[in-house]
Amino acid sequence: MAAMKKVQIIVALYMVIAMAVVFAGCAPQAPVVQEPEIETEDAVAAEEPVAEEGPKQGGTMQIYIHEPVSLDPPNCYESEGIQVIRQVWDGLFEYDPETLETKPALVEDYDISDDGLVYTFYLRKGVNFHNGRELVADDFVYAWTRAADKETASYLAYHLAPIVGYEALQQGTADTFEGVVAIDDYTLQVTLQYPFADFINTLGHVVFYPVAREDIEEHGEQYAQNINGVGPFQFVEWVHNQYIVLERNEDYWRENAYLDGVKYVIMADENTAFLEFQAGNLDFAQVPVGQVNATLADPEFGDHVIIKPTMMLYFYVMNINQPPFRDNVKLRQAIAHMIDKQNICEVVGEGVPSPATGFVPPGVPGFQENASGVTYDPQRAAQLLEEAGYPQGEGLPTLKLGYNIGASHEIIAEAVQADAAELGVNIEVEGYEWGTMLEKGQRGEINFYRLGWQAAYPTMDYFLYPLFHSESPDNFAGYNNPEVDQLLEEARSTLDREARIAKYREIEKMVLNDHVFALIYFYGSRRIVQPYVRGFVLDSMEHYDLRNVWLDK
């Protein structure tokens, strides 16, 4: 009951924050500047003279994306599709754009049983799909069952793994989701296989979006071209490789959006998109690598570049199960110390990313400053190298570093290679296709390889459990530490938020001490909006909500 009460307080707090956010677009606000050179979106909003008449209705916002793989929630596994369907749907919960705390959306209220296994959600009434039918609890049952079902072979099904009955659906031995039950039209009950305190925090993810049964029955495989949600914008058209058009949902359960619609312009290349942005044909785009500093200095656009840390980690996985990294923490630590992360961030990243100090990026509730304590320190690296048994790199075989082709991975690898060479450590860098690299990494043909890990939801758990629990399919390093396993399980079942975060922090430090990864940086956004775009807030997951956006032109 205590937990219950606490939740209600939090919910109330959230509402206040939410209100503040809604008004953020029209009220002047003190800029929140975390680092001197980083301008947050609020600063942008604040600098503009506020239009006296308030938000303007109308207009279409043009946004650059790549061709999404799918717009069907359970198959929408990359950011492109996600940013589209986040405008088309709302989830049971959503994340506060500033704090990234979880707050209810389609849920009015909820209970968690004392053992942390049974969740009861009381749904909001009067929420309608874009086709006019009211949203009911059964829609969630259907959607989640479909997502977990073997037939669907969803790319995102694993998010449902904590729920009872998931395995049976995956194996195709059941037709119904045992752990998901609609008590009545507005009550949804979910039973977990094990206590997972962050479960609520996962529910903002797109895979949990309610997909209506009648739509699937009507469109089948073509559903991605005919999506139907409950969000502020409704789907109009997807012309493949050209554009996706959304229009305002006039029957939205919250206040209707200001924009008449959104046009996602599909482009393959960010350089091209940026050119279009500069020509005024896009409202929101990405500043290409190499042009960030120039754009920041640009009098027209300089103030509208959004640079802020995102919840994504860039690192090299070391192969700890094979020599020379096996059983040689000193060597791994030496590698970690010999990489000039700051230089990479400044030169290659143009100051957009920030040197990684741990696994959990800033912005995730529970983030701890400088968790690892590993800095660029060639002397210490040389000393560690000697302690590891390879003074000046003598006796150390040439290490193979793999990266996947594209972006700046190659230049970063070359920088690392050059850093290591200065200490006598020879690294051979090799670029591969993504899959080939994973394959080679798993088979131990390369000593370490590049990966990025992006938050699907803002929890510490997401940066620790999947990567380091010995039974997780995403444990790339093959890390196996029974103590960590046990702590992770304990943390998951700790319902108290503070206590849970404390446990995760402890785990993070423990794993960091083993130097399983050579950490490079936390990604940053390098997005840009046109000066006339108001009320646009980009959160640390690079999510945005167009509900409150309006165009001042």
Binding site: N241, T272, E276, P473
Partner: protein, 314 residues
């Protein structure tokens, strides 16, 4: 004639089977598992198995091949692994755009390549000839994507004369930069071929005859020489069209053109075998059909090889 065309069409079959077989093998030699590639996270064995089953890649290779060929005969090119859409739909989206672009490029080849070649031939050793020779030689040496990016920056951004990328509403200005980029190399070849072909033709006896008849220079060049000189040029242009279709990858990538080259290229990277197979197959068919068309056209231009016309000799 009909018999000839029919025979040629029959000859395409082994080529098509060969192409599918090679592609099939290529795509399956790749050591990695498309399922694992798609399931970047949460890839439990069960999830992988489910996805493989869904994709139909849990079967042995030869069974997959025969099933693919069987479906192919029914006009079914399968479903994209990645986009989970019928391949026919993906191709139907992409092909018209590429074909339009290729035709725009061909138009440039004909307009510019042919004219430049003719001018160079007619004004042999003049300033214009040198200009054409130098620029065509250089054009062959410049990597297409390099040229594309320079033009994009210059005409699109700096000068703002032309759209930078994409198809927009499909109006003509969107075609100019990509079509020029795509056509650059082949226009140079057409110009060179036209020039040498013209020069060769101009040295023939029948040109002297035409002059001796009292025809004006213009008429001799425009009528007697051109039609003969065109024969090899038409072949080149026709074959180019096929090559253009395959060569659009770079241009489409630079100019963000929603066409087939980019689609197949991305599909290769994503191991989206059905899209690669289907896309390439159609590409190859277009190439073969174009070859046939060129041969037929050749007959129209050159009466000497016209088929099935009775020979009368005195």
């Amino acid at each position: 004639m009909l018999y000839y065309i029919l025979k040629r069409i029959l000859q395409m079959i082994p080529v098509l089977i060969g192409v599918t077989l090679i592609l099939f093998l290529l795509m399956y030699i790749i050591p990695e598992d498309p399922a694992r590639l798609i399931l970047q996270q949460g890839a439990t064995d069960q999830a992988l198995a489910n996805l493989r089953e869904k994709m139909g890649i849990d079967q042995p290779l030869h069974i997959q091949y025969f099933r693919y060929m069987k479906n192919l005969l029914q006009g079914d090119l399968g479903t994209s692994y990645r986009y989970r859409r019928p391949v026919t739909g993906i191709l139907a989206d992409a092909y018209p755009n590429s074909i339009r672009l290729a035709f725009a490029a061909i138009l440039i080849e004909i307009l510019i390549g042919l004219c430049a070649g003719m001018i160079a031939a007619v004004k042999k050793y003049s300033f214009w000839d040198t200009l054409v020779t130098v620029s065509t030689t250089l054009a062959v040496c410049v990597p297409v994507f390099w040229l594309g990016m320079i033009m994009q920056n210059l005409f699109g951004l700096r000068l703002g004369w032309l759209p930078i990328s994409g198809m927009g509403d499909g109006s003509i200005q969107y075609y100019i930069l990509p079509a020029f980029t795509l056509a650059s190399v082949s226009t140079a070849y057409v110009a060179r071929m036209t020039r040498s072909s013209m020069l060769e033709v101009m040295s023939h006896d029948y040109i002297t005859t035409a002059f001796a008849k009292g025809l004006s220079y213009r008429l001799v060049v425009g009528k007697h020489a051109l039609k003969n000189a065109l024969i090899p040029v038409v072949t080149l242009i026709g074959l180019n069209l096929g090559a253009l279709m395959g060569g659009v990858v770079l241009t489409e990538t630079v100019f963000n053109w929603p066409g087939i080259g980019r689609t197949i290229y991305l599909a290769i990277l994503e191991r989206d075998t059905p899209v690669v197979l289907g896309g390439t197959l159609v590409l190859v068919i277009i190439f073969l059909v174009l070859n046939l068309v060129v041969d037929v056209l050749y007959g129209l231009l050159d009466p000497r090889i016209r088929v099935a016309k009775q020979e009368v000799k005195v």
